[in-house]
Structures are given as C-alpha cells and as structure tokens.
C-alpha cells in the first residue's frame, strides 16, 4: 500500500463510526477424554474458557477432574484429583471473509493436586515357580502434586454457528512432582502417565466448544 492510499484509508476510518471488535469468549469441553474415560472405568471432566483479549492473543484457563483407573498386570490403582492450567494462545491463521476458525500455538502452566489409592499389586518375580498372588492392599497416598508446562497447538473450526470442534496436541514438560514413600508418582491428572525415561509427555485433546460474542 502506498503512503497516499494509507493516509486515505486512515481518513476514511475516521469518518466511519468506529466498529467495536466484539469480545469473544469461548467455553469448551474435552469430549474425547470424557468418552475414553467412560470406556475405561474412569471419569474425566475437562473444561476450558478462552478469551480473545487482544488482536490474535487468547487468554486460556483449563480445569478438570479425573478419577482414573490404571489396571496393569503388576498394579491396579486409582488416581483422583483436579488440575488447573493457565496460559496464552496466539492465532496464526488468517480467516477468509467472515470465517472464524483458528489455529493457535501457546503455552500453559499447569498444576495438579491428586491422591492415589493403590488397590492391589502382583510381585514382579520373572523366574517365579510358585506364581505370585495378587496382594490386595488398598493403601492411600494423599496430597500429591505436580507442576508442568504444556506447549500446545490447537485447531478450532466453526462447524455450526458459534459451535466449534477442536483438536489439540501438546508437548508437556514436567517440572516437579511429589515423591511419596513406598510408591512413585505415575499417573497425573491432566498430564497422563509419567514415563521413567524422561520428563516429557505427549497429549491430545478433542474439544467441543461454544463461543459467545458480545
């Protein structure tokens, strides 16, 4: 655009009454995790709210509750707890015409507080002749916590008027976690399973959300 056009545009803008950018607030629900949990004798309720507070920037807050059953050949335990994530997303997608989709990249700080109930375990004895029995213990490990960062890329597509389907992938970096006596932090609500070879984790989420404009 030439300097002349630019100044013309500016003078036109000042003639038209200023059109206010609508405040866009979206609330979403992780439907994928909710269904997956239901199919695996667990519970998950994961919500977020985001607000387009400045140009292409969104402020996002996520919270969730999980009651997660882990059932392996060695361990059976329940994880119950809440998590909270606060972060900023940046929209990198240019919409055509009046479309209102977005592709965002962002970072969130996350905290989870949770308890374990160790229901039972089977001793690991690789060369066992007498097969180890299952030990029913029902032992509790309470007041555990973890802190991590989520680096998230997310697509949100307006599928019906104001209704969005979203898909997000996250790389997670665990910064700290509790160290209970006689056990270890394994599953973390909002993070998924901690692995023993690194502090990184990976996650995916499938959202349904609704956007309010006012």
């Amino acid at each position: 655009m030439s300097a002349q056009q630019d100044s013309l545009q500016t003078s036109l803008d000042s003639l038209v009454p200023h059109k206010r950018q609508p405040v866009k607030i979206r609330i979403g629900f992780d439907a994928g995790k909710y269904i997956w949990a239901r199919l695996n004798d667990s519970e998950s309720y994961d919500f977020y709210i985001d607000a387009n507070f400045y140009k292409n920037y969104y402020l996002i807050f996520l919270t969730g509750y999980e009651n997660h059953l882990t059932n392996s050949s060695l361990l059976t335990y329940h994880t119950t707890g809440n998590y909270y994530k606060l972060g900023i997303d940046y929209n990198i997608y240019e919409n055509w015409l009046d479309m209102d989709n977005d592709i965002t990249i962002g970072v969130r700080y996350a905290y989870a507080g949770f308890d374990y109930q160790l229901n039972s375990f089977r001793i690991n004895q690789p060369e066992a002749v007498i097969t180890p029995e299952i030990n029913e213990v029902n032992k509790y490990f309470t007041n555990l916590s973890a802190h991590w960062l989520d680096f998230t890329a997310k697509i949100q597509a307006e599928t019906f008027k104001n209704v969005y389907l979203g898909y997000a992938v996250s790389l997670k970096y665990l910064m700290s976690y509790s160290d209970p006596d006689d056990f270890e932090v394994l599953y973390i609500p909002g993070f998924f399973e901690r692995n023993s070879y690194s502090n990184f984790g990976f996650g995916m989420q499938y959202f349904i959300s609704y956007r309010f404009k006012f």
Binding site: F121, I123, N124, Q125, E127, A128, V129, Y167, F183
Partner: protein
C-alpha cells in the same frame, strides 16, 4: 476435520512402552562345597529342585551354584533337593518386604532373616547361611556341603 480426528486416534496407539530394566525380586543363591575340603566347590551332576507347594521341578546339570526363586506368597519355601536318587527336605523361612521399584517393574519382594532347615538328610552333610538378607542375587546366600 473428521479425517484429522481419525488420524490422531491412530497416533494414540503407538506410544512407547516402558520396559523393566531394574532388578526385581532376587533369587536365592546356593553354592555347593566339598564337605571333605570345605574351601573347594563341588559340583553336582544331576540336581532336581522340587517345590513341595506345587510339585514343580527345576532341573540342573553339572552345577556348583544354583539361583532359585523363593515363594513370595508365604514366609516359607519347602523344597526337596534330589541328587541322583538321594532326596533331602530343605525348608527356608524368612520375612518378606514389599518394595516399589518403578512403573515398569512394579513391586519386588526382599527376604529378611533367612533361616534354613534340613530334614531326612541323605546327601547334605552340612550347610551355612552366609547372608541372611536376600536383597540381591549376585553372590551366594547359602553354602551346602556334600
């Protein structure tokens, strides 16, 4: 959009599994020594270890050391040690401790205050417990003299 959801669902199934690399429940290590010259090991041509609880048998040939799993379900393990046709009853007693190892390995059992008793001795002339704590199985816990 739908295609993307399906693609992502496929990705979920390829997450790397942890595999257990740490030591888990240790075995009992028994070494066989010569009764007549107790400094020297003395191997056994054919040795069968019969677990009396289940009737399972472990077979060894030309061994001067065996590593055998104990019973993690009880504070004792009853064995019949059969050398050729001679069979001796050996019982081990201990206290068990459960220790969490890792997500991939789960829990292991450690055995404390190991005691041994031999009855109907036909070939075992003497024994010595050299380590009452079974926490690793890289060195002998028990010497049997024959």
């Amino acid at each position: 959009m739908l295609a993307m959801w399906l693609f992502a669902a496929l990705l979920v199934s390829c997450e790397k599994d942890d595999s257990c690399i740490d030591p888990t429940t240790p075995n009992l290590v028994i070494q066989f020594y010569d009764y007549d010259s107790p400094e020297n090991v003395k191997s056994i041509a054919n040795l069968n270890v019969v677990y009396l609880e289940t009737g399972d048998t472990l077979k060894f040939q030309n061994v001067d050391e065996i590593k055998i799993p104990l019973n993690v379900n009880d504070d004792s393990c009853l064995l019949k040690l059969v050398k050729d046709t001679a069979s001796d009853m050996v019982s081990f007693t201990y206290q068990r401790e459960y220790v969490f190892v890792s997500k991939a390995c789960g829990f292991k059992t450690l055995f404390h205050n190991l005691e041994m008793n031999v009855s109907h001795a036909q070939w075992i002339k003497d024994f010595e417990i050299i380590n009452h704590e079974i926490v690793i199985d890289t060195s002998a816990h028990v010497k049997i003299f024959h």
